[in-house]
């Protein structure tokens, strides 16, 4: 056992080996006096806990704005239908435009339905890394944006595609929010490549986009009907073999996940060191197992995010997860509020808070994935 600590320093000092030295961490029960617990100690703790819901809150806010915008749309249609007799010209024109759009949509749907089921698209030459999780709020989008910023192959581009209706990835990467997102583009049959936005630090991003509930369900129907939908979209982007695609997915078992598992070369499962995530590990492994049974499974790795190393519970959970997953656990990213705050201020944490421990961990993670990526043998075709 190679030690690099005070014991090894001591023994090196007189030329002996510290191999047979044993550490004991004896536990004692101390009877603390009640006065010893001072409120000052607990003050920082609420600050830590308060930070976590922030991101979720912002997500909820986004959902709210989406639903608000949906609500805004509908009242617009109502006046058109109600006032048929004395309607102004603009209303008539709006009606015509709407009808035109609906027709185009129907045509597209038909076209897609006809074209898709049996032809398998060519496998894109780019490397695809999917960031998935069984539970929400574990920091998937944060990690996805970090990977997009940090992971780059020579001579290629790295782009991120947000498949999460939450549509949060654009905020992580600081891309302008009011453009046509992936969802709308897909429904209208537009190609993805020209719609890529540039985010911070030279990243490319295709956001999910703001859409109505109706539109979302339409898209998901496409996905359900066509196993190779995402593969097709990627193929149409004409990516090179040095390009890397990072896919951000919604949590849990969704139809997006099935699409993603079809195309991904590497899958990164994000989890946190608590009981809630642990019990969902089964689900995730089951799912991945199914995929593996069908052949050509992607390389699966796990990462523990938002890790608070000052708590014994977290460290113990880490140990438990490590024992279960073994070498599949790639690493640990420390809990660091600098990251969450960077997003709130519209900054990329990897640029602003470079020296923070979490950013260091994320960079290490990115390097490990890159190393794996380079050593992988990628097959030419998709499996069935």
């Amino acid at each position: 056992m190679n030690r690099t600590d005070d014991i090894s320093n001591l023994f090196n000092g007189f030329g002996a080996s510290a191999d047979s030295y044993l550490d004991f961490s004896n536990q004692f029960d101390y009877k603390e006096r009640p006065l010893a617990f001072v409120p000052a100690v607990s003050k920082p703790v609420p600050a830590i806990e308060a930070a976590e819901p922030e991101i979720d809150l912002s997500a909820k806010k986004l959902a709210q704005t989406v639903t608000e915008s949906e609500a805004n749309l509908e009242p617009e249609l109502a006046p058109v239908n109600a006032a048929q007799s004395g309607t102004p010209l603009r209303h008539l024109l709006a009606e015509v435009a709407l009808a035109r759009r609906a027709e185009a949509q129907a045509r597209n749907e038909e076209a897609l339905r006809q074209v898709t089921p049996h032809s398998r698209p060519a496998k894109t030459r780019a490397h695809v890394i999917a960031v998935v999780s069984a539970k929400g709020g574990v920091g998937k989008s944060t990690l996805a944006s970090a990977l997009t910023t940090a992971l780059r192959l020579e001579g290629g581009q790295t782009l991120a595609i947000d498949l999460d209706p939450q549509n949060a990835l654009q905020y992580h990467l600081g891309a302008a929010p009011d453009v046509l997102g992936m969802c709308n583009a897909s429904i209208m049959g537009e190609k993805w490549k020209p719609l890529l936005l540039s985010g911070s630090a030279g990243t490319l991003l295709l956001p999910y986009g703001a859409m109505t509930e109706e539109e979302r369900r339409t898209l998901e129907r496409y996905l359900e009907n066509d196993r190779y939908w995402l593969a097709r979209q990627l193929a149409s982007m004409d990516l090179g073999e040095n390009d890397v695609v990072i896919l951000d997915t919604p949590p849990g078992r969704t139809t997006y996940l099935d699409q993603v598992l079809m195309v991904a070369d590497q899958v990164l499962v994000v989890t946190t060191a608590d009981a809630a995530c642990f019990v969902t590990l089964d689900q995730m492994e089951h799912l991945l197992g199914e995929r593996m049974a069908r052949g050509q499974a992607p390389l699966c790795n796990y990462v523990i995010n938002q890790f608070d190393s000052s708590r014994v519970f977290c460290r113990d959970m880490h140990e438990v997860i490590k024992r279960r997953l073994g070498s599949r656990l790639l690493g640990v990213v420390a809990l660091d509020h600098a990251v969450g705050e960077a997003m709130a201020y519209g900054q990329n944490p990897l640029l602003e808070a470079e020296s923070s421990p979490a950013c260091q961990d994320m960079l290490i993670l990115s390097d490990m994935l890159k190393a794996q990526l380079k050593s992988m043998v990628v097959s030419e075709f998709y499996a069935s």
Binding site: D6, N9, F14, N26, F28, Y30, S309, S310
Partner: protein, 740 residues
């Protein structure tokens, strides 16, 4: 910044390889032939030595011979290795024994009682110095440099150990650190029992021990101070081994695993001692500002002398930082109570009973040095008195159970403390001639020079080679001068009547608010200084007057007086107590740390020093924090963080100081585990001081001496002014308190 010191590698020279080959051939000879050969060679060497020592030379030939030897010594000094040391000792002994023979045969012929008084007095002092020199060589020529033996076998087979922490009047704050560190020692939990032996029977100690789950032992009396305390505790405990730490000696976590191994290896081993390391400066280092540049007084003893004793199986117990096997200790009747240095006496008894004692020169515990000069002096008085008592009541030269080497080592340890009278004699000897014109040395001045100079120079050079890492030249004289007057009385008393209890005058110590001069303590040095200064002036005057035929004699005496002046003025400098800014000493250490601010941002930094209450550290890029900000400081142990709340005390240019804020017991324990219990902190600064060169040491001591004289004048001026103002500040009360 924590560097490990590596032992010197001795590359075998061609001569050494030849010597190895020769000894191999010798081993192969049959027994009787070998004995005859050895006896023959010894006799031949003896005769040769006798011849060299006793042959009388005239001035010229003596000078040539002395010069030759000295040049040889200077050249050989550069070659490292044990053989060189032996040769240097041989040369030094030659010069010194030649001098002694000539001294005793040619220079004693006194007339008149004045001459006889001073003359014989000086000879006795010189004889004492010579004996101590020879025994010293014997002790330190070949330090054993024992390496620790690590524990083998599963922890379930390791022996049980009782850790005793005796305490009398130390505050809980200080002892707490030791107790937590003792709990944190790496040893199976069911086999490590920590006990606090409280002779003060204090309620807060009892409560604390109950809260953290360590043993608390009291007795209803205080007979025999610490020895009695330990003996009572031995009766109510049962561990196979006993470890003793003084109340302020904090052990590292590796203490037991490093020390107990030897007991398993050697079943006859009864006691293993480790060094007393101090992380705060002692009064010499503090007042003379020589902390970590000049080795302190203890380093010679713990770095070299005990290591040398170990070769002869004569290591003695020093009262703390040692492991003792219970059975032999009970066999000799527990810790010795007959003398005040109960520790050395206990080891002597163990050796007499046929057990072995051992020494590991690796500091595995550290404590606070004596805070003030008066405390320091009273501690040394106690040691001197105790050693004199043992000399009288249990003399190592007589009595059975000891080998010759052990007898001589113990004897030297005791003789060392009798330097009071000889040192005073040396400091006043030249004055006898200068003032009273006493003819105490019947020889021409040049002959004296030709014999005395080689003796002194060789001794100086050889001692510098042997001890250079642990003591600088001339510092011996300073330490002795400071204590000579004070130990003279108690030692004489103890020699005459060992049963006399005496009293120890102890100062309470603590925070010294302002710089002041210890007038009461410095009186003897000032007297000596004035006498020698007067002698110098008088001698110069006589020289200028042109006394007939005595010019060289006066010059020699003047040179000696100047040397005495340097030493005494340096002693005066020690009495000028410097201001102690911190009430709690800090340990310098570089450890990685992490700071979390109130807003949650995290910065990684590096510690500069730590104490029980606070931490000094460096942050990168000169980050400054406002005083009073609450932060969380995290320290690492193997990738794991432990967090401690703290308050910033000062911040300047990236160097910050913080004080820990009401830690829980668990946090305190964890903090000590991460700081004081680290195994390498003390060992990395041990023996790393500058190696001695006699000339630069002399220059340094002279500088200190000049500063001492300056301080004396300044203090005198202040006292005179105070006398005029009639607002004299009374010095701290001296009480009769049993010191430790």
């Amino acid at each position: 910044m924590i560097e490990a010191s590596t032992p010197e590698a001795v590359t075998p020279t061609r001569f050494q390889r030849w010597a190895d080959a020769a000894s191999d051939r010798l081993e192969s000879l049959p027994q009787t032939l070998r004995r005859v050969l050895v006896a023959g060679v010894t006799m031949l060497c003896g005769l040769l030595a006798l011849f060299i020592i006793t042959v009388p030379f005239e001035l010229y030939s003596q000078c040539i011979f002395a010069l030759g030897c000295f040049v040889a010594a200077l050249v050989l000094r550069k070659i490292p290795g044990r053989l060189t040391v032996l040769i240097l000792i041989g040369l030094s002994l030659t010069a010194s024994l030649r001098y002694l023979y000539w001294r005793l045969t040619s220079t004693l012929g006194f007339e008149g009682w004045v001459d006889m008084l001073f003359g014989y007095g000086l000879v006795m002092a010189e004889l004492y110095a010579m004996i101590v020199l020879v025994f010293g060589y014997l002790q330190t020529a070949w330090p054993l440099r024992r390496k620790p033996v690590l524990m083998s076998g599963p922890p379930s087979e390791w022996p049980t150990v009782d850790v005793f922490i005796p305490s009398y009047n130390e505050t809980l704050d200080i002892v707490k650190v030791t107790i937590f560190a003792a709990q944190a020692i790496d040893w199976p939990q069911d086999k490590l029992r920590v006990h606090v032996l409280d002779d003060g029977r204090r309620e807060d100690f009892r409560e604390f021990c109950e809260q953290i789950g360590v043993g608390y032992i009291v007795r209803d009396n205080n007979r025999h101070a610490k020895a009695g305390n330990l003996n009572e505790a031995l009766k109510v405990t049962s561990g196979e081994f006993v470890t003793i730490f003084d109340a302020d000696h904090v052990p590292t976590r590796s203490f037991l695993q490093v020390c107990v191994g030897w007991f398993i290896k050697d079943p006859k081993l009864a006691m293993l001692q480790t060094p007393h390391f101090f992380f705060s400066p002692d009064p010499f280092e503090k007042n003379l500002n020589t902390f970590r540049s000049v080795p302190n007084e203890g380093e010679l003893f713990y770095g070299l002398v005990q290591d040398g004793n170990d070769l002869w199986n004569a290591t003695f117990f020093c009262g703390s930082c040692a492991v003792i096997r219970r059975a032999p200790l009970l066999e000799i009747g527990g810790v010795a109570v007959e003398t005040v240095t109960e520790d050395a006496h206990t080891a002597l008894k163990l050796n007499r009973a046929g057990y072995n004692t051992a020494y590991l020169a690796i500091p595995q515990a550290a404590g606070l040095a004596t805070e003030s000069l008066s405390r320091h002096i009273s501690q040394r008085i106690r040691w001197a008195r105790g050693m004199a008592q043992i000399f009288r009541t249990d003399n190592p030269l007589f009595g059975k159970g000891l080998k010759l080497g052990q007898r001589l080592c113990y004897l030297n340890a005791m003789l060392h403390f009798f330097y009071g009278l000889p040192r005073l004699a040396f400091l006043t000897a030249p004055l006898a001639f200068l003032f009273f014109d006493a003819q105490i040395f019947h020889a021409s001045a040049l002959m004296i020079t030709a014999y005395v100079l080689p003796h002194i120079l060789h001794a100086s050079l050889t001692n510098s080679s042997i001890q250079g890492r642990f003591r600088h030249s001339f510092w011996n004289e300073v330490y002795e001068t400071v204590l000579a007057w004070y130990i003279l009385g108690p030692v004489l008393m103890a020699l005459v009547n060992p049963k006399f209890g005496g009293f120890n005058v102890t100062d309470k110590g603590g925070v010294i608010d302002k710089k002041y001069f210890e007038w009461k303590l410095a009186r003897p040095y000032i007297v000596l200084l004035i006498l020698n200064a007067a002698g110098l002036i008088y001698g110069v005057v006589r020289l200028m007057e042109g006394a007939e035929g005595a010019t060289t004699t006066i010059l020699i005496n003047l040179a000696w007086t100047v040397y005495n002046l340097i030493i005494t003025s340096a002693s005066v400098a020690v009495a000028s107590e410097t201001r102690q800014v911190r009430s709690e000493p800090r340990v310098a250490a570089t450890l990685p740390m992490r700071l979390t601010r109130a807003d949650g941002s995290v910065v990684d930094g590096v510690t500069q020093d730590f104490s029980q209450k606070g931490l000094g550290f460096l942050l990168p890029a000169g980050i400054d924090l406002p005083k009073g900000e609450r932060v969380q400081i995290s320290l690492f142990r193997n990738q794991q963080l432990s967090v401690f709340p703290a308050v910033i005390m000062f911040s300047r240019d990236g160097l910050l100081g913080a004080q820990f804020d009401q830690l829980t017991l668990r946090q305190q324990s964890e903090l000590i585990r991460l700081t004081f219990s680290r195994a390498d902190t003390w060992a990395s600064t041990w023996g790393n001081g500058q190696v001695d060169t006699p000339l630069s040491a002399l220059r340094e001591v002279t500088g200190i001496g000049l500063r001492g004289i300056y301080e004396l004048f300044k203090a005198t001026g202040m006292e005179v002014r105070n006398l005029f103002r009639r607002s004299q500040v009374s010095p701290s009360k001296l009480e009769n308190v049993l010191d430790k």
